[in-house]
Symmetry: C2
Subunit: 470 residues, 2 copies
């Protein structure tokens, strides 16, 4: 009988989940429904740097609503975050880990009422929470609104909520015009109400590159009204508000430094993690998703990260009596972190060498698609020292027209220094079952280790010499 | 009062339609609704060369149904094609021209009954025919089903018909499996009926790169059934049938040599053409579409082509008593054609120079988007001799992973020879109002003049040396 759970699927594959994920046929991880481009992806990227950009985030994220008498206890127990300061109308970057302390994923969590939270983000966190509610004994109610289909092909797509973000140096002028006067002074990651036309709308203060930004949401049926009102407010304010399509969208994180897609650390471990794998169906993200990249290990734990490694350790609510993973995180803390998050700045000449191979006969290097070269749900490319020792893993790639270079986010050994030049192995060593990649050979691309977020300081100090000379 | 017709719009712009179209804000001309990629655009391109590809053509074309006692006379009068041999269950490549002999556009036309035709293609031909029915006195009934919206953003999209094409060297095995036995021996551009599952479906014999291919269509409500049945037949036949997404789709014409987007020659001329411009609304293709490229002329007629120049002269039904444009075409024929259709093969090193500029500070060359660098409804790039004399116009661009090079289709003076090396001016000389392009500077890209269709002969004779050396 064919497997019906992730645990069964892994058993079918000789206990090697890497083999399953590296050969997944699910295709690209796409940002669905939203048009690929409204103007063009270069100008759309430029808008968040120089004017204002409108992100339509209504479709690419799961939403989970957690309500009930034990909503707070349930969420506090399954996330690493401190909850003591979690007032109403506040948001957090919520991170659950496994009992072994491996990151599962992350969501943005909004507290709407004493006993009601909305969580927004990728599937691994949604799935873990839905499982947790059935695994433990919790007096909570969960509602789940999954992300939109990747390829709706003309079918109608509906969500619970629309969700827009307006970001960029000119965004403030639009808010004021929209609100019919100055908007409340909302603190970072706090929520307040603003007017958009005739509607009162919830707004989260967000930020990208330090510029003012708001995320707003409401019932999906209001989407067209809100969208039209925003666009009109921008015209009235004389601001060039650029709508961002799906091609540019996912690259905004390269400049801000958030890694969207760590592999959830749920493929190993007993107890709760094993029970989760027995709960996860074979068509769900954890079973059907893909790993892409040059890093191949038979031990799937080599793909995991912990909160310290990707900069989430300051979220940890150490004062909480207990939460899933607390003991493991204490141990990791005591031992000291082994890796840290960085930005890799790709060498221009090596990138051009890769591109040039697609203008020659024979097997080319792996095509670098612009602006988003990722070809799996989770990317894992080897980053090595000159002697070939692997010292890091690149986890999310993209081209920035603002920076005029390819960047990627990932982790390196703590002894690697900002400014070090390492080598990223681009492309997979063998042909896999993935449909998202063409046959190719591997290339070495030099990368310079840079801070996260990739800052102006890094750029001025060495960027020009690095980019224009090899 | 704001203009309500194309004629009024041109008057508002001082009689210069080029100015209107080069500053259009309509954005890219996209292939809507269909997902950008199903696997990846390289493998999708490769499928039509090496295995089999499934094109979903349900959304990007207008459909016009022409019925009634005078359907044949009406269509024969407004197209250049011979109609004497237009039997039932046959298709033609239908081309209308203006009274001055300029190409308006083209459709594929199917004869379904003695008094019923279905036409499929871009808007200029649809609009011209709908106008013609109201301009003359014709006993015909027209029904119009416009192409799907470019950016439906999750709204439901419906058409009259689904339309699929299956092409490639392995396609025949799928047809046989689908039909439950050998399919009828359908001649090129003839139509017959085949079985797909429990349904009888009309099939047009089509071809690309000489491989067998069929185009099938039927009521839109059957789309999912037909799609699933085709995919299952491919699996049963052991054929790797690759679904083609919107990014790869438009590049298939580079290898086969059809120019999809000549500018309709309707912006000048009196009589019927002027009446057409008074009929065309300001939101229609002819008013709202865009011209993109380095060729800028105040005389919009410089963007037109005639049927001789793009290889349609052998369609002309000279024996017909009369048809719109006949006298003008006779004159052009007597004078001898001045231009001919060719493929331009872009120089690899010059292309890489353009790409490299997007890894440097300052204003880059115009980004070449892959695989489809077009940024307007109609492209017009100057192609010049070494001394700067313009000798050709490049009209449709794209990268072919099969050929490992950028190609474009266009016209050159008849004295230009296959193998000549010319220079394509890439990018626009000034910033226009178009949203589809980022600020850029112009580049010179050497191009080698090659036959159309871009054939194996051309490749073997000189391609390798040209591509890998400058």
């Amino acid at each position: 009988m064919a497997a019906t759970s992730l645990e069964g699927l892994i058993a079918e594959h000789g206990g090697n989940p890497v083999d399953i994920l590296r050969n997944s046929k699910i295709g690209m991880y796409v940002y669905p429904v939203v048009a690929p481009e409204f103007s063009n992806w270069r100008s759309e990227q430029n808008a968040w740097r120089d004017s204002a950009v409108l992100f339509d985030q209504s479709h690419h994220m799961d939403e989970v609503i957690v309500e009930g008498p034990q909503a707070t206890e349930f969420l506090a127990y399954h996330g690493i975050n401190a909850f003591g300061n979690f007032d109403l109308n506040r948001a957090k970057h919520y991170v659950p880990v496994t009992p072994a302390g491996h990151v599962i994923g992350d969501h943005i969590i909004f507290r709407e009422r004493e006993d009601k939270y909305i969580l927004v983000g990728r599937a691994p966190t949604s799935n873990w929470l839905m499982f947790a509610a059935s695994y433990g004994k919790w007096n909570v109610r969960l509602r789940y609104d999954p992300r939109s289909p990747s390829r709706p092909e003309g079918e109608r797509v509906l969500r619970e909520h629309y969700r827009f973000q307006i970001q960029g140096p000119e965004a403030g002028k639009i808010f004021e015009k929209m609100n019919g006067g100055p908007i409340p002074d909302i603190k970072f990651f706090h929520v307040d109400w603003i007017n958009i036309g005739s509607k009162k709308v919830q707004a989260l203060r967000h930020g990208m590159s330090g510029a003012p930004g708001l995320e707003i949401w409401g019932p999906y049926k209001d989407k067209d009204y809100i969208h039209s009102t925003i666009m009109q407010a921008a015209r009235d304010a004389g601001v060039n508000l650029v709508q961002c399509g799906s091609r540019a969208y996912s690259t905004n994180t390269l400049e801000s430094g958030w890694i969207p897609s760590p592999l959830p650390g749920i493929y190993t471990g007993d107890g709760m993690t094993k029970a989760f794998r027995e709960w996860v169906g074979v068509d769900m993200y954890e079973s059907a998703g893909a790993i892409g990249g040059s890093f191949v290990s038979d031990n799937i734990e080599d793909y995991y990260v912990n909160p310290f490694e990707i900069g989430y350790d300051f979220y940890i609510g150490w004062k909480k009596d207990d939460f899933v993973g607390k003991a493991a995180l204490e141990k990791i803390k005591a031992e000291g972190p082994k890796r840290k998050k960085v930005t890799f700045e790709w060498n221009r000449d090596d990138v051009l060498k890769v591109i040039a191979s697609s203008f020659e006969q024979g097997t080319p290097y792996k095509w670098i698609d612009f602006p988003q070269p990722n070809y799996a749900s989770s990317s894992a490319d080897m980053v090595c020292k000159e002697d070939g020792t692997m010292v890091g893993m690149s986890m999310f790639n993209g081209y920035s027209f603002n920076e005029r270079c390819l960047l990627s986010l990932g982790v390196v050994s703590t002894d690697v220094q900002i400014g070090d030049v390492l080598t990223l192995k681009w492309g997979e060593p063998e042909t896999t079952g993935k449909t998202s990649t063409e046959p190719h050979k591997q290339a070495d691309i030099r990368v310079r280790v840079s801070p996260t977020p990739y800052s102006a300081e890094a750029r001025t100090n060495y960027a020009d010499s690095w980019r224009t000379r090899s």
